[in-house]
Amino acid sequence: MKKALFVAMAMTLGSSLAAPFVYPASWTTNKPSEVQTGGTLRTVNLQDFKTLNPFVSSESPNLPDSLTAGSFLTQDPVTDEFIPYMAEKYTQSADKRTFTFTIRKGMKWSDGKPITADDWITSYTIHSDKNVGSNIYDYMSINNQPIKVTKVDADTVRVVFPKADVTALEWVSGILYPEPTHVFMPVYKSKGADGIKNMWTISTDPKDIVTSGSFMLDRYQRGERAILKKNPYFGEWNKDSAGKPLPYLDGVQINIVADANAQLTQFLAGNIDVYSPGDRDKLAQVKAAMDAKKINGVLIPNASARASSDFVVFNLDDSATYKTKLFSNPKFRQAFSMIVNRDAMVDLTLGGLGAPTYTGVYPVYKDWVASGVDKYKFNPAGAIKLLNELGFTKKGPDGVLVDKNGNKLEFTLITNAENTRRQGFAKIIQDEAKKIGMKVNTSFIAFNQMTTMLDAKDNFGRRNFDAILIGLTGGGKVFPVSGPSVIECSGLGEGGNLHMFNQSNKCRFPFETQTINLYWKGRAEFNLAARKAIANQMQKIEAEQQPYVQLAAQTVHFAWTARTQGELPRAAVNSLNASTLYGPRILDLTWIKR
């Protein structure tokens, strides 16, 4: 029981007045003795940061998150265990609903004021205020039942969930962060939500920004770069395994480079230290530059699959047109899955750097992907057989299959114009479908337009699309099968739901209900093996029903300059543990070699 061990360790250390959090030695490839302190890490972000206000921020990555230390627990990137971080220790009630956290002593804000239980209450209070419009407002409740955060005493916070939920661990480590009460509360009390919304804009003087994390903002040059400097108080309660205060770095420079090719240029020119080549062309460039000794650095190609998926979703609404009826037949979707040439997609579109996918669990969750889900893999002959069963037996003069009512096997596949990968996938689908007599028209439109088409219409009327090629991203490590918004088929409305194939506001198919039941069962299951079994069941249903026809997943690649040190051990280098900004490493343990 690793968890218990850690709690115990913390308690022994806690005998001294302020027990610092000690970063396990397993989180970095370097020994503490090798480390040099000082220096600046230069990294890159794809878009301009828009705010410094944690209650307003909605982008990802964002600066408030980069400047925050974390919360009660943290997830060990190597073992995936949740360990106490800002909490010294915690207890969980027998019904698994109630967590009681004892706050670590000696923690300080970047202005030197102590971090206390009140800071979580402040954060919870303001995020829960509808009028603030926080991006995580909806996270403050589960199924309309609020999560309760209360202060027990100066050192103790209690969090009560409406029901036993394994994702609660993620909530207490990665959703609710403490915010400085002494900064926000006076404003909130006097001016309310509007007062909060006007605080900490991107042009606020960095001196006024108070952070808990290892770095604080030194200066922000709009559209150019954010310059972070070391938070002097962080080292008091964060130590490496040898007891050295963290972070090692003096500063971080986050350069804003809005174009993927321009990012590559910056890395090749030696202007940034960490970089993740987005596709094979950029990977080849980095590799060639390293081989030619133009840049001295490390490249980890194909580190893992990405934590995202691409799939085709059909319109299965109950509008009872010829097309929705056809799409609603699982045989059709199975046939479609069998004309998806995933190997060709990996080869031609991803340049060989990817893997075919058959379920909604991203392949990076190696332990979670069920086996035997590729029943409907590429098999044109099988597809033809199924289509024959559906009545598409003869071809018209244009080579397109028709059924006995003269309906053509033709539909439009939409994807977003910004994404060349998805367009490539769509093209391969189109061309393979043509070979067996299925006519797929492709249309590339703006992302916003596409999501608007997916949305439920007024009174759940007819949606006007045949098929859309889209993807999902995100999700934690605890139960990475799906999310409520993806599986729930009722309670839909304008937005906020991802039950993309059926927006009739009711479950039309038995498998929908089955999936929902399994999902909530899994969420309440704290036993990992049992949870995985449930996930397997869900994937089996998905693979048979093909509500989302999964295509292929790209792999990620990481590169950094030789001066950049302190990355995660190779085994832990994957897309889940890598930060968008800093790559596969923990920033606090990163150091610059001179």
């Binding site: 230069r42 909806d138 804009t201 709009r222 770069r225 240029t265 910056q266 991203t473 906020g496």
Partner: protein, 333 residues
């Protein structure tokens, strides 16, 4: 003749005439943005944890539930009072968001305009004074080539070339960005101005190369024509030296159409800076506009359109005033 008495009412009249254009342009922009399916809130759809009520509440908050024309007049009213509205993405007033990118674009445009004239006039004059000389033929050839290459692709070629220079010769190249990330933060203003300038150079050159190519050809043609005019012969017959003939007598009239085109140059450069700002990672208006377009952040788009139309007005006024200075035949009526 230019005198305050006649200029001021003229400018005033021009501004009055401009008002309908301005209204029409902003209204049109407002309509076509809104006509496109989806709105700023559509992107929340991919976030599994946003509830319908939240979206509805935000929609009310941003006024997106109102009819478009109502929204437009609301915007117009605020605009007149100096309030450009709220950016959805930044959750801040556009007044706060816009100036930075605008100034950055202006840097490119100003350096570009200066470069435009500083190169095209001498090249045009040289070519006209020595028509069909080797230099003239070289300029002609180059300008044809520059007119033929799509500028976004040319930008890629230039960056690639600069990168190769840096990698192979170790020359420090201002490869994109507005400022160097290597400089310390506490440097003198002139040092940082110089830094911005050298970073602006490559994108500006690409930005104006097409303009320079066509403008220098145009000036050459104009000047050749003027040099054949009777009054130039008169000047020569007076014994005026040849370079005086060219610069004092011919060039001034030859430049009249060029100056008349100045009005369109400013908005064209702001617009043309687009692709190049993206490729060179210059934090100007276009990257802002592109993300705003992607997110349907309408008030940012409105503000950019308003600024562009205003620039158009300023450009036209400027060229009118300059024309009246240079050409006494033009009077304000």
């Amino acid at each position: 003749m230019l005198s305050e008495v006649s200029v001021l009412p003229y400018i005033f009249r021009r501004i009055l005439q401009f008002i309908p254009t301005f209204l029409l342009a902003t209204l049109l922009a407002f309509f076509i943005v809104q006509l496109a399916p989806g709105d700023f809130l559509s992107q929340l759809k991919e976030n599994p944890s946003v509830r319908p009520e939240t979206v509805e509440r935000l929609r009310k908050e941003f006024g997106l539930d109102q009819p478009i024309i109502v929204q437009y007049f609301y915007w117009l009213k605020n605009f007149v009072m100096g309030n450009l509205g709220q950016s959805f993405q930044y959750k801040r007033p556009v007044n706060e968001v816009l100036p930075g990118p605008f100034m950055n674009s202006l840097i490119l445009v100003i350096i570009g305009t200066v470069l435009h004239f500083a190169v095209s006039i001498p090249v045009g004059v040289y070519s006209a004074v020595r028509p069909y000389s080797t230099a003239d033929k070289t300029f002609t050839f180059l300008s044809y080539i520059f007119l033929g290459i799509p500028s976004f692709f040319f930008a890629l070629l230039v960056i690639w070339g600069m990168l190769k220079l840096q990698q192979n010769f170790g020359w420090d190249m201002p490869l994109g960005n507005k400022t160097s990330s290597k400089l310390p933060t506490d440097i003198s203003w002139w040092r940082s101005a110089w830094d911005v300038f050298i970073h602006a150079l490559a994108p500006t050159i690409i930005l104006v190369l097409r303009g320079i190519s066509s403008e220098s050809r145009f000036i050459r043609g104009q000047l050749l024509e003027v040099l054949g005019q009777d009054y130039v012969r008169t000047a020569r017959a007076k014994g005026v030296a040849e370079n005086q003939v060219v610069y004092k007598h011919a060039l001034r009239t030859a430049l009249i159409p060029t100056i008349a085109g100045l009005g369109g140059l400013l908005p064209a450069l702001i617009g043309g800076a687009g692709f190049i700002e993206v490729v060179f990672n210059w934090p100007g208006l276009t990257p802002l506009q592109l993300t705003a377009l992607g997110n349907q952040d309408i008030y940012i788009l409105q503000a950019v359109t308003a600024v562009a139309t205003l620039l158009y007005l300023v450009g036209n006024l400027l060229s009118d005033v300059l024309l009246s200075v240079i050409d006494p035949r033009i009077r304000y009526h």
